[in-house]
Each structure stands twice: as C-alpha cells, then as structure tokens.
Amino acid sequence: MSELPPKSSIRRWFLTTNHKDIGVLYLITALFFLLFGGLMAMLFRVELLSPAADFLGESGYNQAVSTHGLLMVFWFISPFAFGFANYVVPLQIGADDLAFPRLNALSYWLYLFSGLLFGVSFFQGTTFAGGWTMYAPLNTPAYMPGEALGATSVVLALIMFIAAVTLGSVNFLTTMYRMRAEGLRMRDLPIFSISINLTVWMMLFAFAALLAALMILSSDHILGTHYFSYAIDGETFATDADNPGSSMLWAHLFWFFGHPEVYIVFFPALGIMGECFQTFTGRRLVGRKWFIIAMVLVALQSFIVWMHHMFLTGINLNIKTIFMATTIGISLPFDLMVFSLIYTMIKGKVRFTTPFLFSLGALLLFILGGITGVFLGAVVLDYQFRGTYWVVAHFHYVMVAGATALFGGLYYWYPKITGKMYDEFLGKVHFAVYFIGFNLLYFPMFIAWETPRRVFNYPVELTIWHNLSTVGAFVLGASFLIMFYNMFVSYFRGEEVGDRPWEFATSAEWAVSSPPPLENFDGVPSYASGKLEFLDDEEVARRTGGQAGHAGTAADGGTGGAATDGGTASTDPAEAGTAGGTGLATAETALAAETGTAELTGHDEHASHASFWPFLISLGGFVLFLGLSGVRTGAMLYESLALVGGVVTFGSLVGMAQEPFYAPEPAIAERWPFENVEKMKLGMWTFLASDIVLFGAFIGSYAFIRFAYGWRAWEHELIPEAHVTFPGLVNTYLLLASSFAVVLAMVSAERESKWGVLASLGATFALGVGFLINKGIEWLHLFNLHGSEAFPHGWDLTTNLASSTFYLTTGLHGAHVVIGLLIVVYMFVRTWGGAYMGEEKPIEYFGLYWHLVDIVWLFLFPLFYIL
C-alpha cells in the first residue's frame, strides 16, 4: 500500500483508488473521447457535403462513421455518466468509498487503455470499418481488405472495455447493497443513485452477452473459428453457404446487449434530469414512487425488445409480432416519466440555471426522439424506415438527448467537484449554441430520411439538408469550446462556493464541503431518525452494542437499529487471491485479487487509498491485447508483445493480491436484501451472475447455430466418429471430484486442520490438472484424424461449425479451470504458511467460483459429448 500524494502531484493520479479522484479521471477521459469521436463526425460530415466520396474516400468514410459510433457509444457516453456515478453515488448513499476501491481504479485504467488500444488501431493499416453494430459477416477478416489487424484491435479493445464495465458493475452493486447509510432504504435513494443502480444491473447482464459475442468474434479473427462465416469450405457464400445462422447469431447477441444499452446510456441522464428538476423547481418529483417503478419496469423490459432491431432480417413473423408488442409496451413507462417531469415543472417554481436548461433541453429532445422511435417499433413502418436516416435522426435524438442531460450534470456538480462556481452567462450561451447546433444537425435528417444509412452517397436533391446538417455539426462542436473555456477559467477564477450552492438541493453530497474531504464524512451518516445525521464513534458503538459487526440487522423497512451483520468481519489478506490466468485481467481474477487484502480486524486502522497495481495490470493488458491483435501474422513483434504483456499482467495481479490494502465496510449500514451476505461473497456472486450470462450466451450460440443448421444433421455430418463420450465422462468424474475436494478443504479449514486443507487443495489441483491433461490428449487425437475419410485434415478449430463451437466453448471452460488452478496454487502456498485455520471464508469464496465451473461442465458434457 502506498501513501496517497496530494492532488498537485502527478503520482497521485496514477495511484489513487479514491472514488472522487476516479470520478474526475473518468470525466476528463470521457471528454477526451467526446472530442475524438466528434472529430470523426466532423470528418464524415464534411464528406457528406456532396454525395460523392471526394474527401475521405470510401474506406475512410466507413472507418470514420464506424469509429465515431463506437467511440461515442462505448468510450464517451457511459463512462461520462460513470464519472458522475463514481463521484456522487458514494456521497449520496453515505459511504466513504466504493466497496472495492482498487477494482474501481482497475476499471478506470482498463477503460483508458482500451481506448488507447482503439486509437492504436488507426495505425495498423485500417481500423474497423464495418459500422458500429459490427454486423456479420463484415466483421470477420475474410470480408475486410488487407490484414485487418486494426479491426482485430478494435474487437479486443471492446473486450477490455467490457472487463472494465463488469468490474464496475460488480463494484457498484456491492457498494449500493452493503454500504448504504443506516435507515436509507433502496426506494429512498436519491433519484440519480437509483438510476445508477438500475443501470449497473442492466450492464451486468447485457455486457456479458456482448462479451460472449466479442470473444467469439475475436476467436474468428485470431484462431480461425467459423461462427460468423457464411461459407466455410465453399467457393462463395452465395452458393455454398453452410452456416445459415452466422449473421443472425451476431444480430441476436449484439442486440440482446444493444437495446438495454440504450437505457444504460439514458438512465443516468434520467437520474440527472430528476435531480435537476427537483433542485431547480424546488419541489419533489411528482409521482416519485411511480417514476421509480417505471424505471424498474423499463430495466426489466429492456431485455425483451431486442428483436425490433431485426424486423428486416429473416426472423419469423410470430416473433416479430411479439417483439412489436413488447416494444410498444416499453414506451408506456417512459410516458409516465415524461409527464412526471413536466408536472414537476408545473407544480414548482422553475429557476432557469444552466443545469436546468440542459435538463429541460434533454427532455424536449428525448420526447421527439421517443416518438419517432415508436414508428420503428411497428413492423410495417420499420420495413420502410429501416436502413434510412430516419433511424439515424431518431437514435441521435435519444442518445444525444441523454448526453445533453449529462452536460447539465457537469454544470450541476461542477461546484461540488471543484469548489468553484462556473460562469452562468457563458453556461447559458453554451446551452443556446448547443441546442441550436443540435437541432440544425439532426432535424434535417428527418426531412432527408430517404438517405440510405452507412453510405456516403445520397440523392442529389437532398444535398441542401445534408449541408444544413454539416453546418449544425460545426455549430454543435463549437459550443463545446465555450464549455471548455468556462470550465477551465472558472476552475482558477470562479467564485468559491460553500457546501450547498443550490438552494433546494437535498441529497447528501450537498451536506459536505465542496470539494468533499477524502473520506467524505466526519461522522457516520445515518437516516434512522428520518433526517440525515452524522454519528460520532461513541454513538456508533452504542448502536452496535459495542461490538461493531456483530449486531442485528435492519430490513429495508427503515426500522432503524443496527444494521451491521458482518460489518467488520475478518477477511484474511489476499486469500482468494492470486489471479492471473493467461495474462488477461479477467473480472474473476481481479475480484479475487481485490478480496484479498481487505484485512478487517476491527481495530482503528485508516482506510487505504493508493495502489499502483491497477495501472500496471491495465498497462500489461494493453500490451498483451496489442500483441494478440497481430499474432496471427506470426510477426515476432506481435508475439513478443503478447508474451511481455501477459507476464506483466500476471505479475501485477499477483502483486495486487500481495499488497496490504484496507477497505473497511461501515460499522452500521442498511443492507437489504443482502443483510447476511458479506461484501466479498456478494461481490463474488454478482460476478458469477454475469459469468452465468457469458457461459449461457456461449451455449446459446452453440444451440442457435445447431438449430439453424439442423440439430440432428449436425451430429451426422459435422462430427467425426472418433469424438466419443468417454473422455467427457472421465472429465466429468474429475471435475465433480475436484468440487468435492474444495468442499472438504473448507470443512478442514473450519476444523483448523492444516493437513486436511493441504490435502484437499492438493487433490483439487491434481484433479484439475488431470482434467486438462485428459482434454489435451482428446484434442490432440481429434486434431490428427488423418486416417479419417470424412476429415482427412483432422478435426480442428477451423474444420467446421461443430468443431468451432466444441473447441471454443470447452476452451472457454478450460480457461476458467486454468484460472481456478492458479488460485488453488496460491491458496496452497498460503495454507502452508498457516493461513485459513478457522478462517474458511476465502476457501468458500473460491469454491463458489470453482463449483460454477463444475456446473457449466455438467451441461457441456451432454451437449458436446452425448447429444
């Protein structure tokens, strides 16, 4: 653990794990990517001044459009919102920091380095040019010019980005369910925190599906599997298509993520609008309870509408009709929210400050975006509008409306973050120029809706509208010069503000100084009395019966009392610890490493705020992924980068696991509905829930492709006779036995039997290694079926669909086994040193992971070996 240097030191920003610092880093980095994505937009808007590729050229245009979409959706909007979430949510819920501060820093650095990897892709020939939706088969190297290394980098950058997102989701959910101030029920959270809670729930599941899609795609790129290829051994895909499910599989996986993503982007904006409407009308949100219920409904419904993006594909009419109904259905809760905001204005007294103007502007733009979206939810209208600028205009009115509210959030919390007030006049000028530029840019697209999407040419008679759009783009872009000037100058010359510069702001971040102190609150926040109070140590001790961490629990009924179960329970350092795997900073390894070190012993130790390992792990991940992007070329440079990156990542993960780091849970807190689930266990289960979706999407992809191909024909035509049940059965025995051994290790630790733990962990390791050896023998045998008539070149990853799905799905499972075994080795060594005696929790946490790996195999075995 390092000491945290002052803010003026550059070292601080590499070391910090404090949520407010990380929030600021997110905000600044996201604004950089706004400029990056905005630059791409400017370039292709210039191209669109005339209906010919006379500026960027065809490929340049495709790259600019694709990267604009990817950068704005992934690297700007959500991370910008999570800058606020990082800064504000712990303050609003009464926590000192997030549950896993180092994981939070790791999320940020993975995000930054994923963006840098994206940037590097421009220098590898061409970057990704297949549109932000990355439709198959144009997302595979076979349909890309040149070596397509830049495109592979983009795919890998997205995987790295999702690692950051998953860690963030686990962290926020654990924090919000384990660290709320006493008496603060979920329903009583400030509306912004509620919006973030629902957003991270959606992120946890939706991004896992996208991760599956991208891992499969990267396998198609790097290993040569065939999930997204139309033709595997035919001459052309027009006549020899032997993978009828390829492009549909991508569309399903992508849009299963993609539609929740719309709300992932928009919900934080809604939360900010809610905050600003309340603060600047001076009254509570009208129908607040119903507003929250509507948000919950949308979050749930968001997972059952994705096929409205696929009405023009070959899905059947029944499913189109069902998804039309669910899509129209999801607009209803939004109606309620819109009317709630409108009535709040009517019932209150509006103060037209800059944050309010941006929030109001966002509402107006969203209403137009929402209404025009309903058109696209109707199958017959969608047939007409799909693939036109109607869609482009609609989704920019939705997504950029969200961004509009986020800019309002920047003005709203700027005084809290900096302690200085921005220039109100310049803020209003920014809004005026922004609003004019926005509508000048996007509204003409509705008029010129017949313009086809994704191509640089359009009917000549529409030129005037496209020229207006281009002028609007520059006006919109110029408006940010005003914002940046205002923010920069105000930081040095702005008027100092107190705790609460906004008269009617009520949430807890306004109850502390601007900017807040490092650990947020002087006392322990509590709402048990019905209003915010800060308890001193004596009062906390009294409420916990003098034994923080072992008192009773309080349900979400806000009944007060001590809510402390496990609050300061002992968690041994670095137990669950090592991590690693094959160099990739996977969520599970990082989570395990994070666990590791929160040595909560109940004594008065200061919380830690600094660690260099998150930066190093992410740097290693960046080098590793850069190497992987070109490893298929066999170039020494790329192979070396992959090796060095892998070593740095693995070493850094071990370093992080070894680092002493103290991240306390509050002594008293509201923890419904996870009162009796300690922080680490909840974090692990939350991560496993996302891993279930990842594996589910892999298995679902296999099932989908096999259905599309013909379930029984698959077995007869694509699988060699040599692929028999026996190796799978042996591996089932081995894995079941290893699970049992982990259970015995836990029992032995409970009984403080060192040799029992060592023997059980040793058995787990031996059985896991046996599993891998058996798999290796089986694979080698199948690779080399040279005597086979049907498969004269053997049966490897590239042979056909069945081999691709078999090796990749069981390979993903095998990678989980490898990661698990590395953790077992680490735990074995620690046990040898005397750890875990009477402290079996870390073994239990590891067991949760290992048993899930076992469960997954229980389905892979029948699906890939028997059926």
Partner: protein
Amino acid sequence: MSHTKLYTIIFGVLFVFATIQALVEQFISFEQSYWLAFGLIIALSVIKALLVAGYYQHLRWEPRSVSYLAGGGLLVALALTAAAAYSIV
C-alpha cells in the same frame, strides 16, 4: 447428519447421475427416441446443477436474494437462447 456426510452423499449421487447420462444411449435408441433421451439427459444435468448450487455453493442456506441474483443471470441467458432459437424460420 454432519455436513461432511451430506456432501459425500451428494458427491455419490452426482457421480451416479453422470454415469447414467453416459449410458442412456445404451437403453434408449437415439435414432428412434432422440428427444426423449435428450429430455432425460438434460433433466439429469439440471438436477446435478441444483445439487451443486444448493449444497456445495450453499445456496440452500443463503438468503433467498442470492439465489435470485444467480437465477437472474440464468433467466437472461435462457431468454436469449429460447427466443433466438424460436426466431429461426
């Protein structure tokens, strides 16, 4: 019954069920009754998974909210698979 004994019995059940799955083809002809065999084999996998989750992962003794959390992930994956497979013409 001690937990260790319970864990051991469950291990035995898991072992036997895995063996039965591998032997199903000996008793039910895949050519004639493929989907019956499919249902039986997958049902055995589901039972095995529930045993591991319920006892080895202790979900039986955890607050119900933890099961809902894991079940949420499962529901999401099943919804994707079922709807996508159903959409095939």
